[in-house]
């Protein structure tokens, strides 16, 4: 493929935006235009709403969108994980059915992986899928499912063969969440929010065409989703700067984000809001304390280094170099940053760190940062699991001893 330059892409997208971007359009109309033109997901293949551009050039497109204040495709929640998974493993029919509505934001998704008996050990799932005629019948329980109460569709990992070894007996489905037999019950978290749920499946139906890849391929497909999830966690970018954005489309996007992000309301706080630290230090006068200054500097050094490490990984990829260790380190770095950020916010806040709610510093945001931090090192694979992955796959150390081989039926469970 001949290399397209930054400048060519920049010029092209700029011209397209000049001709098409109109903040008075409806959000769905605009996003359908994005899907049709391929400018919404430029790194996706041309056949599926993209332009087949390298990742580096996709960022150039993002910059041009930001320059004119144009709204992007819907990106919040599990949507893009679902999209990436389907793009890689889905049938054409599944891509046709689901991808466009993911980009336009008309559908919301969730991820039915964890179960009460299997979190870190995801392949221990016991939710079952049994083929009856041309339908799969689902029975079992999932837990910690973020956004299940908003979701239209879920990515579901279920067991289809109890006699195969554990990793080989699972299959991957797309399930309609708003159907009979799917019972979503909110779970209250330690920060008081209820963004995750427990979900009970009783004879819930999945049409055969919603099986992703083949029977028994579930683990392989789930790994794609998880890889994208971890990669997403490397982005320690500050929340995008959005000035006053007028026009119908922005109003619609705000209200979409309001709903979509409602379960995630506290999520920006998970990374600890590094971006607030300088501001808070100045407004409280804590910036005059030499010890606090040292701790702020330590935090910022860690946060900036983590961000640049993610950029190095992307840059290496752009140069066509094999993925270095940088790529698998982001999630672990994010938990370290989150913890250290909470520590610094506590230092800055002092006694007021004991308060919560509207009367407390920054209208409760600081309190929320402090009590939301443990989520980062658990959700999406715990720190310990990340360390196992790094030590085994990057450093080449021996694998953990296994006690779960042979037919899954005979493996010890919770």
């Amino acid at each position: 493929m001949s290399r397209i330059s930054d400048e060519q892409v920049r010029a092209e997208v700029r011209a397209w935006l000049a001709a098409n971007w109109d903040p008075e359009m409806s959000l769905v109309t605009w996003r359908n235009k994005l899907a049709d033109s391929g400018w919404g997901m430029p790194q996706w293949p041309e056949a599926w709403y993209g332009r087949g551009l390298p990742v580096g050039l996709a960022r150039v497109v993002e910059e041009e969108f930001a320059n004119v204040g144009a709204v992007s495709v819907a990106k919040s929640g599990v949507r893009l994980l679902a999209a990436a998974t389907l793009l890689e493993h889905g049938s054409d029919l599944q891509k046709k059915k689901f991808l466009r509505r993911i980009l336009t934001g008309e559908d919301t998704w969730c991820q039915f992986f964890s179960e009460p008996g299997s979190g870190s050990d995801l392949a221990g799932a016991t939710t079952r899928a049994d083929l009856v005629g041309d339908h799969w019948i689902i029975n079992g329980q999932k837990v910690w499912t973020t956004s299940a109460h908003h979701a239209d569709h879920g990515l579901l990992l279920a067991r289809t063969d109890w006699d195969a070894p554990k990793h080989e007996g699972m299959s991957f489905f797309v399930i309609d969440v708003k159907q009979p037999g799917v019972d979503v019950q909110p779970l209250k978290q330690m920060n008081g929010h209820a963004s995750f749920n427990q979900v009970f499946f009783t004879d819930a139906i999945v049409p055969a065409e919603n099986l992703v890849a083949g029977v028994g391929d579930g683990w392989k497909v789930a790994m794609t989703t998880l890889a994208h999830e971890r990669r997403g966690a490397d982005g320690l970018n500050p929340p995008s700067k959005r000035g006053a954005r007028l026009g119908r489309i922005h109003a619609e996007e705000r209200s979409e984000l309001e709903t979509a992000n409602q379960p995630y309301k506290w999520y920006p706080q998970r990374a600890g809001r590094v971006d607030l630290v300088f501001e808070r230090a100045k407004e409280t006068g804590a910036n005059k304390d030499p010890y606090v200054r040292q701790e702020i500097a330590k935090l910022m050094i860690m946060a900036k280094s983590a961000e640049w490490t993610a950029r190095r990984a992307r840059a290496a990829q752009q140069h066509g170099r094999p993925q270095g260790p940088e790529g698998s380190l982001g999630k672990l770095a994010a938990s370290n940053v989150a913890r250290s950020c909470a520590h610094v916010h506590t230092l800055i806040t002092g006694a007021e760190a004991m308060l919560a709610g509207p009367g407390s510093p920054r209208d409760g945001i600081i309190a929320e940062i402090l009590v939301s931090v443990p989520a980062t090192s658990i959700a999406g694979g715990t720190d310990e699991i990340q360390r196992n992955i790094i030590s085994e796959r990057v450093l080449g150390l021996p694998k953990e001893p296994r006690f779960d081989t042979g037919p899954f039926r005979n493996v010890r469970k919770n």
């Binding site: 500050p238 700067k241 971006d275 607030l276 630290v277 300088f278 501001e279 230090a281 100045k282 910036n287 030499p290 200054r293 040292q294 702020i296 500097a297 330590k298 910022m300 050094i301 860690m302 900036k304 280094s305 983590a306 640049w308 490490t309 950029r311 190095r312 992307r314 840059a315 290496a316 752009q318 140069h319 170099r321 260790p325 940088e326 380190l329 672990l332 770095a333 370290n336 310990e384 990340q386 360390r387 196992n388 790094i390 030590s391 085994e392 990057v394 450093l395 080449g396 150390l397 021996p398 953990e400 001893p401």
Partner: protein
């Protein structure tokens, strides 16, 4: 974070986050050379000598690889590369612990001349440094051991044909072998950044007394130099004397951060190799999670600090306005990471790690001396906060 705060910590988009293919090739060639010339047996032999380097290897790295000329423009006999290439060199030297007067001659002295010197001075002084024919160093710190230029007390009194230096410099890297000394001093009755300037003189000048100090890290030789009315020339001018000095120290901090990352990587590699070999309880220790997780954390630590070191080098190379702040950031990150990596590497080696025969302590000592050299992490963190305006 307000927009201005954010731009303050966001280097410009021009910064490259990957090395070019040419830079990677240069690195591999250098690494092969060093593998050959600087095995730890050689490091151990040289660190026990007073000179602390092998003139024949210095000649080869000067002639075959043109390393001393890396940051020096071609018009002054150098190779005309920039900060990124200089940092590739220091990273590889740090990995191999090469005993050679590179940091003193090239990183400190050549940059100081480039930053401060007049056109005539650059033309007369730099070619000999670029060719490796002449060794040089920069004397900044005094008995207080501080790297903040404002603390400098050495007095340079103007006379008819130059200046007379009076005072003491200490912790001068390779001060015992350098032929050319660049000395930071101040004109009489000046304080702070005012009145600071750099001066050059031959190490053999009258009124100069040099003494090799016994250093904890014997691969980095330090000297104390006493000046009693020694005659020196002004390098550049007194007016902006502090600026070139500060710039040189910032560049040196970046080069040192990269050097430290080379060392940290060597330690990490050695810890991983050992964990795969050493058997206890019927399995390799690398199969225990306590060790696996420690190594994963060490890798994370090293990768993050490397990103900071690389980013600072890139920022300096393109003169991004943020680069002096990033120099502090990179030096602080590298200092803590290098030392932690060294300590953990010894821990993973167990008892053998604490022996003289095991090589780990060579890097451990370099990590310790580098932590302090050019300023401790706490100093750089404070400077970072000031440069960020917090």
């Amino acid at each position: 974070m307000s927009a201005s705060d954010e731009s303050r910590v966001e280097p410009a988009r021009r910064i490259q986050f990957a090395f070019t293919d040419e830079q990677e090739q240069f690195r591999s060639a250098l690494r092969r050379f060093l593998k050959d010339k600087s095995p730890t047996t050689e490091v151990r032999r040289l660190m026990a000598t007073a000179e602390g380097y092998n003139p024949e290897v210095w000649r080869q790295l000067s002639e075959e690889l043109a390393l001393p000329g890396i940051p020096i423009p071609e018009q002054y006999g150098g190779a005309g590369f920039g900060m990124v290439e200089l940092c590739i060199v220091t990273e590889e030297l740090g990995r191999a612990l090469l005993c050679a007067p590179y940091f003193s001659t090239t990183v400190l002295a050549a940059n100081a001349i480039l930053n401060a010197g007049t056109e005539a001075q650059k033309s007369s002084l730099l070619p000999d440094l670029a060719s490796g024919a002449r060794l040089a160093t920069l004397a900044v710190t005094e008995l207080s051991g501080h790297w903040d230029p404002r603390e400098i007390e050495l007095v340079a009194t103007p006379v008819v044909n130059g200046y007379l230096l009076d005072g003491v410099k200490s912790y001068v890297v390779d001060g015992h072998i350098a032929n050319l000394l660049i000395v930071a001093g101040r004109v009489p009755a000046s304080v702070g950044h005012e009145g600071l300037a750099l001066f050059t003189l031959s190490a053999n000048s009258e009124g100069v007394q040099r003494r090799l100090l016994e250093s904890m890290d014997p691969t980095r030789k330090l000297a104390r130099i006493d000046f009693h009315g020694a005659h020196a020339d002004l390098l550049g001018s007194v007016d902006d004397g502090a600026k070139p000095l500060i710039r040189t120290l910032d560049q040196a901090a970046i080069a040192l951060a990269n050097e430290m990352m080379g060392g940290a990587q060597a330690l990490l590699d050695s810890a991983v190799d050992y964990a795969k070999l050493r058997v206890q309880f019927g399995r390799t220790i690398g199969s225990f999670q306590a060790i696996k997780h420690k190594l994963a954390d060490m890798l994370l630590d090293v990768e993050l600090a490397k990103s900071a070191a690389y980013c600072a080098a890139q920022a300096c190379a393109v003169e991004d306005p943020e680069w002096p702040a990033l120099a502090c950031l990179a030096k602080a990150a590298a200092s803590e990471t290098y030392l932690r990596t060294a300590a953990e590497c010894i821990q993973i080696h167990g008892g053998i790690g604490f022996t003289w025969d095991n090589d780990t302590h060579l890097w451990f000592k370099r990590a310790k001396s580098s932590e302090v050299f050019l300023g401790q992490p706490s100093y750089h963190r404070e400077l970072l906060m000031q440069r960020w305006g917090v």
